[in-house]
């Protein structure tokens, strides 16, 4: 699959005024406005679901389902600046439903080793280090409880505030803080050995 753009370019530079206008147009039934929202937000939602599901086909399907539901519920989103967190809240529900369905249908297959991630880089060492650390990160994330992983990713990877995460997860603010703190401790314990070796 192709890369869309560097994360910072999409996740960092968000135009809130534009969100407001887009939302109001989308609520009024302008399909082009919703398409723009999709183009802007879908890569983040797709990555979030990919990290949770660890299944490309499932993450693609989940992304589509998230936006279909979002379109249906646009009227319930009161603040445009909460759009990203709101979408992640829907994505999380889609994820939980997929997990439940898979558990009913049988054991989940082990995620396949993704060799396509090895990228062209300046040196073989750098490539090795990069792909090794990506694998280590994947493994460390996979070890986290589903809900804890969701909260951590929303915070670190997607830059949502604690309040937005609380709304998306349906948790209290204190629970969000506790869960993210615990997730971090687990993640660091896994990564520490690798990073020390690499240093």
């Amino acid at each position: 699959m192709r890369a869309a753009s560097l994360p910072g370019e999409v996740l960092g530079a968000r135009d809130r005024d534009s969100d407001e206008e887009l939302l109001s147009r989308a609520r009024a039934g302008d399909p082009e406005a919703f398409r723009v929202i999709f183009d802007r937000e879908a890569p983040g939602v797709r990555r979030f679901l990919g990290d949770l599901l660890r299944d490309d086909a499932g993450a693609d399907e989940g992304t589509q389902e998230t936006f279909v539901r979002a379109h249906r519920r646009l009227g319930t989103l009161e603040q445009a600046d909460k759009l990203q967190g709101w979408l992640f809240g829907i994505a999380r529900m889609v994820f939980l439903e997929q997990i439940r369905r898979k558990r009913r249908e049988g054991p989940m297959p082990e995620p396949a080793e993704d060799f396509s991630r090895t990228d062209c880089g300046p040196s073989p060492e750098a490539v090795l280090l990069s792909s090794e650390s990506d694998r280590m990160l994947d493994g460390a994330l996979a070890d986290l409880d589903d809900e804890r992983r969701s909260a951590l990713l929303m915070r670190i990877d997607h830059g949502l505030g604690y309040g937005e995460i609380a709304a998306a997860m349906g948790w209290s603010l204190q629970k969000v803080k506790n869960e993210i703190h615990r997730a971090r401790l687990q993640l660091r314990a896994r990564l520490a050995g690798y990073l020390e070796e690499g240093a």
Partner: protein, 212 residues
């Protein structure tokens, strides 16, 4: 200054704008080993996660657009089962609300069958009766839908499903007969109804998929 909070350090690590104390925090971190280490960790986590490329998603739009244009419609029986399950669950919730505190009575079917109805709280009995009636009504709708689809099914498959449904109905009937007014047993009968409805729903979904 005192140590910055975790959130303040995160804001610095994530490059979130707008913290008026950012300069002050940076200055503190420069001289504080603990905060410096924490900030280094936060930046490492952010770098490791953030450097992964975002995947292209434009190919997913046509599927979304198609579904927005032609939404999947829930069949009428799917709506009915959703409503009936909701009503059943609500009735069960009312039941829990009206039950006296303490554990549910232990099920003793033979004795409970002789237990006088007046010994149980009337509100509890009414909630049980209501929940059961709702489940029965939902079952009737789904059974009717199954009867409609049945002629189009493979005869052997239809025969097997008939047997399954007959067995389930017989078990429900027996359970109901011995439950009388024993709250605990009647709650299990409600569970039985819910399971029966789920079976019917799955069966109808399979029938519709087999005969689109």
């Amino acid at each position: 200054m005192t140590h910055p909070t975790q959130e303040e350090l995160e804001a610095v690590a994530l490059g979130e704008p707008g913290d008026p104390r950012a300069t002050e925090i940076e200055a503190h971190v420069a001289g504080c080993t603990d905060c410096c280490r924490e900030l280094a960790w936060l930046r490492t986590e952010r770098t490791l996660l953030g450097r992964r490329p975002l995947l292209e998603t434009t190919h997913l739009w046509p599927g979304v657009a198609a579904r927005l244009e032609h939404p999947r419609r829930r069949t009428h029986w799917a709506w009915r089962i959703a409503v009936a399950s909701g009503v059943g669950a609500a009735a069960a919730a009312v039941l829990f609300a009206v039950l006296p505190p303490g554990p549910l009575p232990v099920a003793q079917p033979q004795q409970s069958a002789r237990r006088p109805r007046s010994a149980i709280d009337p509100k509890t009995l009414a909630a049980l009766d209501r929940a059961e009636a709702d489940y029965r009504n939902a079952a009737k709708v789904l059974e009717g839908e199954y009867d409609r689809l049945r002629p189009q099914l493979d005869p052997e498959l239809a025969r097997r499903w008939d047997e399954t449904l007959t067995r389930a109905r017989a078990q429900l009937g027996e359970s109901r007969a011995v439950a009388a007014d024993d709250v605990n047993v009647r709650m299990r009968v409600l569970d039985g109804y819910a399971g029966y409805l789920r079976s019917l729903r799955d069966l109808l979904q399979e029938s519709e998929e087999a005969n689109p």
